[in-house]
């Protein structure tokens, strides 16, 4: 302790930082941390709010985000990514409408628990129909499409 007192300010701050890194890493290792990595492609034709919405939906399906997990606040995610707050808000609104998340003032956006056998929106069925048609036109056989679907489904288990 006496040695710490003698240290120059920067050295002391550095020691604090190293201790802090060890604690952070230990915390991450000890408990299940519900976090995820978002990617945003600004050159893509897909709007940013849809990109965000899709990544959250996939993360829920793959079990990376569990019911009760908190999402970053709109402001924090906007600050971090540089995306407009309105864009993040739009994605969260959409997820809320679709029942993937619920929001309240205290906890912010939280992953909602979904009942097995929840109804699938007709738009999803239409999108699947379109995707299957595209795969067919690309020359994939029925079996190839089914095995691809099974593979993708398994990834989400």
């Amino acid at each position: 302790m006496a040695e710490l007192k003698k240290m120059p300010a920067a050295e002391k701050q550095l020691t604090d930082c190293i201790i802090c890194i060890i604690i952070c890493n230990a915390n991450n290792a000890m408990k299940r941390v519900h976090f995820m990595i978002f990617y945003f492609d600004f050159s893509s034709d897909i709007p940013l709010y849809i990109q965000l919405r899709n990544q959250i939906v996939i993360a829920i399906a793959e079990g990376k985000l569990l019911p009760g997990d908190r999402l970053p606040t709109i402001r924090a995610l906007a600050e971090e990514s540089g995306i407009n707050m309105m864009t993040v808000s739009k994605a969260y609104q959409l997820l809320k409408q679709e029942g993937y998340i619920h929001t309240d003032r205290r906890s912010g956006a939280v992953i909602a628990s979904r009942q097995k056998g929840s109804s699938v929106p007709p738009e999803t069925i239409e999108a699947l129909r379109l995707n299957i048609s595209e795969l067919r036109l690309a020359g994939m056989s029925r079996d190839d499409v089914i095995s691809l679907c099974m593979k993708l489904y398994e990834e989400g288990q």
Binding site: A9, A10, Q13, L14, C17, I18, C20, I21, I22, C24, N25, N28, V33, F35, M36, I37, F38, Y39, F40, D41, F42, S43, L71, P72, T73, R75, A76, L77, A78, E79, E80, S81, G82, I83, N84
Partner: protein, 453 residues
């Protein structure tokens, strides 16, 4: 000569300081050196080392050139010429080191591309939610005592209330800067989330420290101004000491941040690492149309910068460029104002003093008393206006008189002190001693005849 030495002493140290800070950019911090992100293996590369050495030498050379160029400023005659020379010198101080920086940044980028260290420019970003910092800020009440202390002297000294109000506004401004000129973004440099969190904490802590220190130092400045009114020389010395302390504190905070960034990231850059070089023009100017934020954090150190892709960023850059161009002309402007004749005349209705666009007029019936002063009143301090060696114009305050409007050349006494019926004071003069005396006599005579009548 005293003013020249004073100006020299208060500006000259900026050149070695800028040199020191820029040379520090030649040390790897967060995998970045002279604004270029490089992988770990590039640190020992011969070409990279050569550029870094050259950069340091060139910065030292620029510093020496600037110090030599400052010598003629010491011998400049007149405040106008002195201002023009110093402003031109400041322009060079801003431009020359940055030109060297950009040149070496370009050279490093070339080496980066030749060695295949350059990552393909993508329009995508990666956000790790675990590193997102909490949205927690110091309460404005922490800055409130500084505001209160700055405003405190108003209780005893109402003459300078505008000055104390300005000084009190400074801690408030610092709180606004602390709160809104910082982007609450994580300092992610690679996949080590713990490191990112700590680097973010270090930056936040030092940012907070910097603005708190500045706020409280400026409140001390307000107290110094109030307490040293009877001893202006002590006031000047203490003001310089406070400014020196603030500068030292800011540099210490900045260097602490840089030192920690350097040590904590000494081993990074081996696998995946963040490379934002395509968003930094010349390693100095941030330009990212995909970033909706206007304020961004500098990659190295504690400071903030602007996103030039935003209209506000362009406006600020335009303003800075205009300011740099206009600065040397301020001296010429001052000289032209001071060179204009100070006219004093008696009209049918009253006395009128004019200098350039400024005009002061007092009706005869408003005048209560007229006095001829052989020298300027004791301890005259400027509140607002021009205070040059050949022109005093604007609102001043003097011991024994209080607030007064002044328009005169201090080199040519005597001066006419006019007190109005509503207790306002005016101090006028011309550049012709006989004319001033003559106007005083005429004014006294006309006032006496009015009183007799």
């Amino acid at each position: 000569m005293f003013i020249n030495i004073f100006l020299w002493a208060s500006i000259i140290w900026v050149a070695p300081l800028a040199c020191y800070l820029l040379i520090n950019e030649a040390k790897f911090k967060k995998n970045i050196v002279i604004g270029v992100t490089l992988p770990y293996q590039a640190r020992e590369d011969e070409k990279v080392q050569e550029i870094l050495k050259r950069f340091k030498k060139q910065q030292i050379l620029v510093c020496i050139i600037l110090l030599v160029l400052a010598i003629p400023c010491l011998f400049a005659k007149g405040l106008g010429l002195s201002m023009a020379l110093w402003c031109s010198w400041i322009d060079l101080l801003v431009i020359l080191p940055n030109v060297v920086y950009v040149m070496n940044n370009k050279a490093l980028k070339k080496v980066k591309a030749e060695n295949g260290w350059k990552r393909e420019n993508t329009d995508s970003i990666r956000i790790d939610t675990v590193t997102i910092p909490p949205d927690k800020w110091l309460s404005p009440w922490v800055f409130f005592p500084a505001f209160f202390l700055s405003l405190l002297p108003v209780i005893w000294d109402k003459n300078f209330w505008t000055l104390y109000a300005i000084l009190a506004a400074i801690p408030v401004t610092f709180w606004l800067i602390y709160r809104y000129l910082y982007r609450n973004k994580s300092e992610t440099i690679d996949e080590n989330t713990g490191l990112a969190r700590v680097l973010t904490q270090v930056r936040r802590r030092n940012w907070r420290r910097m603005w708190l220190v500045c706020a409280y130092c400026f409140s001390a400045l307000s107290l110094v101004i109030f307490l040293t009114q009877s001893n202006p020389m002590l006031g000047i010395i203490l003001t310089i000491a406070i400014v020196f302390f603030i500068t030292l504190a800011i540099i210490r905070v900045e260097m602490n941040t840089r030192k920690i960034q350097e040590k904590l990231t000494a081993q990074s850059g081996r696998d995946w690492y963040v490379d934002d070089d395509d968003k930094w023009i010349g390693g100095i100017i941030y330009y990212n149309p995909n970033d909706s934020r206007f304020i961004i954090n500098n990659r190295i150190g504690t400071n903030s910068s602007f996103n030039l892709a935003k209209p506000a960023g362009k406006a600020i850059m335009g303003f800075v460029v205009l300011l740099l161009i206009a600065m040397p002309f301020t001296g010429i402007l001052l000289d032209s104002i001071a060179g204009k004749e100070i006219e004093l005349e008696l009209t049918k209705t009253g006395i009128v003093s004019t200098n350039g666009s400024a005009r002061y007029s007092i009706l005869y019936e408003e005048i209560a008393e007229v006095e001829l002063l052989e020298k300027l009143p004791m301890k005259m301090t400027r509140k607002f206006g021009i205070g040059m060696e050949n022109l005093l114009r604007g609102s001043f305050s003097a011991e024994g008189i209080g607030n007064m409007e002044v328009c005169l050349d201090p080199r040519y006494p005597p001066f006419i002190l006019i007190t109005t019926r509503n207790d306002k004071h005016y101090l006028f003069g011309t550049r012709h001693t006989d004319l001033t005396k003559q106007i005083f006599e005429q004014l006294s005579a006309s006032l006496n005849s009015e009183q007799e009548f």
